[in-house]
């Protein structure tokens, strides 16, 4: 079972995470879960095979501050979350602008469950004429 060690907020998350890193915590990954009312964002860190998980509850529509400045490996996963969930991450070192994994014509924000947003307009295009 996963235990959440600490619930963090947007205001104190950077300093909480920054305090872990000098103690040789290794950034494992981030997990985003859409729980209808808000997003649950888990930050997973590892020290000697022990997992430390910080939970951030993010309101829909709120911007997520990037931790890629203090923790470079978070860059890829933040770009992925921006792609798949439509969470806007601010302050990314390198911003792929929603096209990290998804191409321009792919369905946008496939994991986001906000009603009305995940419904997409469907068009068709012939492949034969395309160059």
């Amino acid at each position: 079972m996963m235990t959440v060690n600490e619930v963090i907020t947007i205001d104190n998350m950077i300093e909480k995470i920054a305090s872990l890193l000098p103690r040789h915590y290794r950034f494992v990954t981030m997990t985003a879960v859409d729980v209808d009312t808000h997003f649950d964002l888990y930050y997973h860190f590892d020290l000697d095979y022990e997992l430390t998980t910080l939970l951030l509850k993010l309101d829909k529509g709120a911007k997520l501050p990037s931790i890629s400045g203090i923790c470079p490996p978070a860059l890829v996963v933040e770009n992925e979350i921006q792609d798949l969930f439509g969470i806007v991450v601010s302050g990314l070192n390198l911003d792929y602008r929603d096209h990290f994994l998804l191409a321009t014509d792919a369905p946008a924000r496939p994991f986001c469950r906000v009603p009305g947003v995940s419904v997409s307009i469907v068009e068709t295009e012939k492949t034969g004429g395309e160059k």
């Binding site: 079972m1 040789h24 290794r26 990954t29 998980t53 490996p73 998804l102």
Partner: protein
């Protein structure tokens, strides 16, 4: 003169499409920018639409190289959620197939690395040896790649005496072959010229950038999830292979060491194979809850996050594969290297792009 060279997505040394936009200053790479998405399918979303028992076979197809370990890791997660106790024989059989997978993956990776620096003969020889491992897997499960032998609560197939003898025979052949091949890989003058000092990743950077698997162990970090003793690793006794060279050569040394270690582990596991049933029956759906489960793959630590709400379908399945974690160290290694070394450095971390993008 500076320019940008797109490396990939279709490139002779890359078995999979990934693009790296290399900014060059003369022959030196000043920065590398990965462009992903060529193999993104959306497996995590599909897993939410399928039954939790079907998912065990779906996650096997995250990656065709470490397929068994993916499904084993997922099954361990569901077992933890449902509080199932896996019978000891199943635990040992899981170790056997995991280690066979590790051997075939390491032989594949070192073979491709040999191909990247132009030693085609060594590539062919390593892959010929790999076929013995594939035979062992096929003889015990009936499939070469997608074993499908792991299920929730245990394993679906048993290894009988005849199969055990076959596997042990094949291991002897592999060991004999490796005694000839590994000295060539590790001591040949021209191979060393291409590997030693190439793709430096010092210990501090490796830790900061979150490197896992042979990439981390080649930089002196003794980090191997098998140390936690999941499955039967705790009873079999295990020490990670660590090298301090911090370069492509050290990572190759780690893989060579792990190959021999895996042979040993399979032998010990088969030797001590306890008698018990193969799986425990279970009823109903996994209860509501969240679980994080990790296991060691050939490329490093794999991470599964499962969230269930008590229904037959999972609420969320998240996979963080080792190559995803190794992407950031790879970019650190590429900065400052010369263009001919790019292929060697990429293959020295043994990338698995289909894992990365899922």
């Amino acid at each position: 003169m500076s320019m940008v060279i797109p490396f990939g997505p279709q490139h002779p040394v890359l078995p999979e499409p990934i693009q790296l936009r290399l900014s060059l200053q003369e022959e030196r790479v000043t920065s590398a920018l990965p462009v992903l998405g060529y193999i993104h399918r959306g497996l995590e979303k599909l897993a939410e639409e399928k039954d939790f028992q079907q998912d065990a076979y779906l996650v096997e197809r995250v990656c065709g190289i470490c397929s068994f370990i993916h499904s084993m890791c997922y099954c361990q997660g569901i077992e933890e959620l449902m509080d199932l106790k896996v019978p000891p024989r199943a635990q040992y059989l899981r170790v056997v197939w995991s280690e066979l997978h590790r051997m075939h993956s390491h032989l594949l990776a070192t073979g491709l690395l040999a191909d990247a620096f132009g030693f085609e003969n060594l590539f062919m020889q390593l892959w010929r040896t790999r076929e013995h491992v594939m035979d062992a897997m096929e003889y015990t499960t009936g499939a070469r790649i997608m074993l499908g032998s792991c299920c929730i609560g245990g394993v679906r197939k048993d290894i009988n005496e005849e199969q055990k003898k076959f596997v042990l025979d094949k291991l002897n052949t592999v060991e004999k072959d490796l005694k000839v091949l590994l000295p060539v890989l590790l001591e040949d003058y021209s191979v060393k010229k291409r590997l030693v000092g190439i793709g430096m990743l010092d210990q501090l950077t490796a830790r900061e950038r979150g490197a896992v698997g042979p990439t981390a162990r080649g930089s002196g970090l003794a980090m191997d999830h098998r140390m936690t003793g999941y499955c039967a690793y705790g009873e079999l006794g295990f020490e990670p292979v660590v090298e301090n060279g911090c370069d492509s050569y050290a990572r190759t040394q780690v893989r060579a060491g792990e190959l021999l270690q895996s042979i040993d582990l399979v032998r010990r596991a088969l030797d001590r194979l306890p008698d018990s049933e193969l799986k425990v029956p279970f009823k109903g759906n996994p209860p509501a809850g969240e679980v994080v489960i990790r296991a060691e793959q050939p490329r490093g630590e794999v991470f599964y996050f499962l969230k269930s709400s008590g229904k037959d379908k999972l609420d969320r399945l998240r996979v963080r594969t080792p190559t995803f974690a190794n992407l950031s160290p790879l970019l650190a290694m590429l900065t400052g290297c010369t263009l001919p070394d790019v292929a060697v450095i990429i293959l020295s971390v043994d990338p698995c792009v289909s894992c990365t993008e899922r």
